[in-house]
Every structure is written in structure tokens, then in C-alpha cells.
């Protein structure tokens, strides 16, 4: 077996959350430290080396070998250490511990359009961005026409990019990046841009890169893209390498991880003073497994389990759903019934299903209230929470994209017809 193109040995990264905030404010306090350590052996600008509880280890000892031609997908939840690992490999930040070596020309793409300047024209930005990504002027010149054609911006090539639509901007930025020809390519999430056709084109281009025998490391939330492109994958969790193996093995482990760690759910013992009390609020997927993170088209079940200890008349659950502190849904478990039934003692499970493609991507919290018409019983604010992500749906050009206004995927239906001559 040939030696690995990338060899990582115990890479670890500590962020000092406390030190950073403290040092932004007071220059005088650590000025002397800075001066004394300027030529000394200590780390200039860093305070003493004692372990601080505000230390945060984003990465805790990752060993990994990547071989030539590998297309390695790195998956993991937010905060698992994926981006930190990429930043270390692309030398943007240094590891606190550990060692890595890379062979060949390395190209890192942590963002499309890094260094794009709005005042400059498309043509000028191709040169600037290409230069920033490590291409020589000669190299850019030889690929210039290809880049422009790929981006489909021929007509606007001499227009300042501040006048570009967001789609054009992204296409141009990606086109430059796609024409980088490093032996090792490191990519972070950048495929989540552009309209669906353009995204396909980019995936195709990346596939070409892989077939040419170059090595690619690819971080994505888009499990579809990982499955399609990668030959191998790694699951990171809490800064550790959790699973390393075939794409299918890793994606299965990832799905299980996402399902089992039911984000904010509420488990509690019943209140003995009440005839009926909530014991659990959970978020589950369509297969009744706990989950906290969903894809846009997934159905989401909000499940409330409650125990009735003495027969109760007119008992109701209120589930209310909020996104960014805006209340979107307020519903009773009895909304579908003609009259409110009496509940005999026992354990009950009430399930409210939010169909997929209803709520936009975002973070949701669930409040639960219980009571009868006469008597309020329990309130659980933010009893559970879940996240919806745009994993398999490309919402870039859609009105319901996560960062646009509004909270729901458009309900109803659009149709447009020509009704008169101009």
C-alpha cells in the first residue's frame, strides 16, 4: 500500500473562550505579558497555561489516513469538529496538539467567493479570487474562458459584481473554485449553494475531480451528496472520530446518532396532586424513533405521554409550536373530536403529526399546556425542540429558504397565466 496522502496523528484543538473575551477589553492588563513574552519562550499573547474550565476542545485527538484517490466524506452534527478539522488541514488555524502531514498541492475551499470584492467586475474578481485560491495569473488566463462559460455570466463579465443577482454571484464564485486543480481538495459545505441545475453541474465537476485520481475531503450535511460522491466516510462526534469506514456504514451510524440523541425532550415523574400529568414530551420521526433533526420533507411527530390517575372529564393538551419566538401553531389534542372525552386511569400517548414540507428550515420549540376548561394544570415552556434542515431539498432559489422571512413552506398553490396583451 502506498503511503497516505494525508496522515493525521492525534490532532486536537482547544479554544479558549474565556481568555478571548477578557483580552479584547483590556490592553494595559496584559501589555506587560505581551512585552515580556515577545522574545521569551512563552506564547506571546496567550495567558498562563493552566487548565481553564472555559477551555473548549473542538477536536480531541483525531487519527486518520487518507490515500490518493480517496473521496472522503466527513459527517457529524453541528459542533462535532468537522470545520475545525478542515481549518487545521487547510492551515487556517493550528492544532493545539497532534501532527499531520500532507503530500501534494493542497487546495482548500471553505467558502465560495472568498475575497470577492463587490466594486470589482466579474473579470477582475476571477483573477483576484483565483489568486487568493492559489492560482497563478498564467493559470487563470488559460482557464478564464472556461470559467466564464461554466458560470454562464458572459454578458456581465465587465459589470461590477455588486450588480449581480445572488445566483450569478454564486455561480461565478463556484466556477472559479471548480477550476482549481489541486492534488488534494478540501471542501466545506460549499455545494449547498446555487440553483438545483447548477448544483448538479458542480457535483458533476467534483465527480470528475475524483475520477482523475485526486484526493478530496468533503464536509457536508447533505447526506445525499456524500452518498453520491464519496468513496469513504468518517463520522465525527464531540471532537472524536466515531466511525471510519464505508459511506453506507457511516451514514447509517450518523442517522442513528441523529435519531437517538432526541434533542430537547422532557421526561419527568407525574405530579401526584393532579388527576392527570405529563410524563414525557418527545419529538419522533415517522418510524416512532426519537429524533431532533429533520429534513424538510420529513414528517415530524410531537408526542406527549401523560398518566391519568383518576377519571378526568374534559382533559385537554395544548401543543404550541414556535420558531424564532414566533408562535406558529396552537392546537388541542381534541381539535379533531366533536366532544371532549373523559379519560379513565392509565398511560396515554397523544401524537400530533406535522407533515413534511410544512414548516421551514429552522429551530422549533414546543410548549405544552394541560388542563380542563375549568382548570389549568401544567405548563411546560420549551418542553422539546427540534431542527429542520434543508438537506435533500435545495431551497436556494425558493421563497421558503431558511433565512428568508416567513416561517412556513408556502401553503396553497401558485398558477400564472397570461390574461391580456400588454
Amino acid at each position: 500500500m502506498s503511503s497516505p496522502v494525508i496522515h493525521m496523528d492525534g490532532l486536537a484543538k482547544r479554544y479558549r473562550i474565556g481568555v478571548q473575551t477578557a483580552s479584547h477589553g483590556r490592553l494595559t492588563e496584559s501589555m506587560w505579558n505581551g512585552i515580556t513574552s515577545l522574545f521569551g519562550r512563552g506564547h506571546a499573547g496567550e495567558l498562563s497555561d493552566h487548565v481553564d474550565e472555559r477551555d473548549f476542545w473542538a477536536l480531541r485527538g483525531v487519527d486518520l489516513d487518507v490515500y490518493q484517490g480517496d473521496v472522503l466524506g466527513i459527517v457529524g452534527r453541528n459542533g462535532a469538529g468537522k470545520t475545525t478539522l478542515l481549518k487545521i488541514l487547510s492551515r487556517i488555524t493550528e492544532p493545539t496538539e497532534g501532527y499531520a502531514e500532507l503530500r501534494g498541492r493542497v487546495g482548500a475551499l471553505l467558502e465560495v467567493g472568498t475575497g470577492f470584492h463587490p466594486e470589482l467586475t466579474g473579470r477582475e474578481n476571477i483573477f483576484l479570487n483565483g489568486g487568493i485560491l492559489g492560482m497563478s495569473r498564467q493559470e487563470i488566463r488559460s482557464k478564464f474562458d472556461e470559467i466564464v462559460e461554466f458560470a454562464e455570466v458572459q454578458k456581465f463579465i465587465d459589470t461590477p459584481v455588486k450588480r449581480y443577482s445572488s445566483g450569478m454571484f454564486v455561480r461565478l464564485a463556484f466556477a472559479v473554485a471548480a477550476h482549481l486543480e489541486p492534488e488534494v481538495l478540501i471542501i466545506d459545505e460549499v455545494l449547498a449553494v446555487g440553483d438545483i441545475n447548477f448544483q448538479r453541474k458542480c457535483l458533476g465537476k467534483m465527480g470528475d475531480v475524483a475520477r482523475e485520481g485526486r484526493t478530496v475531503i468533503f464536509v457536508s450535511h447533505n447526506t445525499g451528496a456524500v452518498a453520491e460522491l464519496c468513496t469513504r466516510a468518517v463520522l465525527l462526534e464531540g471532537g472524536h472520530k466515531m466511525v471510519d469506514g464505508s459511506v453506507q456504514t457511516v451514514l447509517d451510524a450518523y442517522a442513528e446518532l441523529m435519531a437517538n440523541r432526541g434533542g430537547g425532550t422532557l421526561d419527568m415523574s407525574p405530579d401526584p396532586t393532579l388527576p392527570a400529568s405529563v410524563v414525557e414530551v418527545a419529538i419522533e420521526d415517522a418510524a416512532a424513533r426519537r429524533a431532533s433533526s429533520f429534513d424538510l420533507p420529513d414528517d415530524i411527530d410531537i408526542v406527549v405521554r401523560y398518566r391519568v390517575v383518576e377519571r378526568v372529564h374534559g382533559f385537554q393538551l395544548v401543543v404550541s409550536l414556535a420558531r424564532n419566538a414566533v408562535r406558529l401553531v396552537h392546537t388541542f389534542d381534541t381539535d379533531d373530536l366533536d366532544h371532549i372525552p373523559a379519560r379513565d386511569p392509565g398511560l396515554y400517548e397523544a401524537r400530533y403529526r406535522v407533515p413534511g414540507m410544512t414548516l421551514k428550515a429552522g429551530l422549533y420549540t414546543v410548549d405544552v399546556d394541560t388542563g380542563t376548561l375549568e382548570r389549568h394544570m401544567q405548563t411546560f415552556e420549551a418542553a422539546a425542540s427540534f431542527e429542520i434542515e434543508e438537506r435533500t431539498v435545495n431551497a436556494h432559489s425558493k421563497g421558503y429558504r431558511r433565512d428568508r422571512p416567513g416561517h412556513l413552506v408556502a401553503l396553497g398553490a401558485w398558477s400564472t397565466k397570461r390574461v391580456a396583451d400588454a
Partner: protein, 287 residues
Amino acid sequence: MSTVAPTVQPAQSVDRPDVVIRPTRGGGSLAVHDVWRYRELLYFLIWRDLKVRYRQTAFGVAWVVLQPLALMLVFSLFLGQLLKVNTGSTPYPVFVFTALVPWTLFAQSLTASSQSLLINANLLGKIYFPRIILPISAVGSYLLDFGISTILLLGLMAVYGVTLHLGVLLLPLFAVLVVTTALGVGVGLAALNVRYRDVQSGIPLLIQLWLFASPIAYPITLVPEAYRALYALNPMVSVIGGVRWALLGTDAPSVDSIFVSIAAAVVLLVIGVVYFRRTERTFADVI
């Protein structure tokens, strides 16, 4: 990182890794080799700064000379006409403008380089390159401005009938001293600025004080002989004295004071670069 060869070579044939990543200890080299390897990026950044600076401005390149011209008018009016500072046979406007041309290069280079990391914070977080390229590129774009205002200076001298002699050829040497000083201070302040935004607010004050600590509006002879060597710790003293000597034929600055100034500039540069190199690995985390 082997950025030079654009062709793809089979990676396993290489014995030595191209990139080694490990926590660095100590200060590292002075980065000359790194900067040379990334000279194309340096070129692109200077080119960007020039394009952006004068695009969508009504006066365009005129801005290059407006600032020193305006200062010259103010100094000429108050110090030349009203206070009647003695500048010997040299007309006061020419006297002050010969100093303002290198001074403007200094002030702008110092300001731009010390802000360069914050302005390009986005690049720091997204791409690797030797960080010191940023302050260097910030200075680079002002060298062109310097060239333009030098031409204006020569024009002004012609208007006032000051004859040109071979000393003009020494001008680039003084520019090197200006850049060395500005870069030394600017590089150090840029690194400090990442951690302490105080620097941002302090720079205008520093430049103002430095302006009066340099013999721009007044002749060096105003400073008592005994303090000249101390005075020359400010490299701009020798720069301005030297430029006046080279262009206007005033008394040459003493060899001692030139030596003091060069030494001071080199020490500033070394301190600045060493501090920069020692802190640069945390830039992306802190900024």
C-alpha cells in the same frame, strides 16, 4: 505547499511531505521565503487595493496628491507666511512639500498596514497564506501614490525655479527607509490590533504626534545640536533631512544620525515581524 507546479503529480512518489502541520513553538523565520512563494497573491492584493481605492471616486487619482497639497497650503500659510519659519534660500512651499511626499507615504503605509488584518478578516478565516502578505500589500499600493506625488514635487520645484541635480536618484533609497519604518510599526500594530481594538483608535493619534516629531514644517536646525542623535531615533528625521539634501541641496544630515535612523528602522522592523510571527497562528481564532 507546492504552489509552483500547476501540473498534477502522483503524490506517493514524493518522499517528503509538502505540508507539515503541528503546533508551532517559538517565533519561526522572518517569512522572506514564504512571502516570495506567495508573490502572486501579493501582486493580486496590491492590484485589488489600487483598483478599489480609485474606483467610483469623482477625483480619482487626484486624491493621491490632494492630501499632501492641502497640508502644504496650510503649513505655507500659517508657518511660512504668518510665522515666517526660516528655511534659508528655499521657498517654504517647496521646503514643506519635499517633506510631505515621503511623510504621506509613511503615514498612509503605517495606517493601512496596521488595519490590514482586520479589513481582511474574512480571508484570514477562510484561506491559508503567509499572513504577513496582508500588511505588505497594504504598503505596496501606496508606493504608486508616492511615485505620483514625487512627479508633482518635481513639477513644483520647476515652478519655483529650484534646479534638479543628481541627488534625485537617491530618492528610492529614502523610500526604502520610509517603508522599512512604516512596515515595522505597521506589522506589529496589525498583530496587536487583532487582539486589542484599542490600536485602531490610537493610530491617528500616533501619526499626529509623529508628524510633529518629524522636521516637516520646520528645519532640523531648530533642534539643538546636542539632541540630534536622539532626534534621529525617529527614522523620518533622516528621511526628510536626506530628501531635502538630495533635492534642495540643504545641509546633509550627519552620517551618525543616518546610522542611528537606519538602526532604529531595522530594530522596529525586526520587533514588528517577530511579534507578528509569534502571534499569527492565533489570528484566525481570535479575530
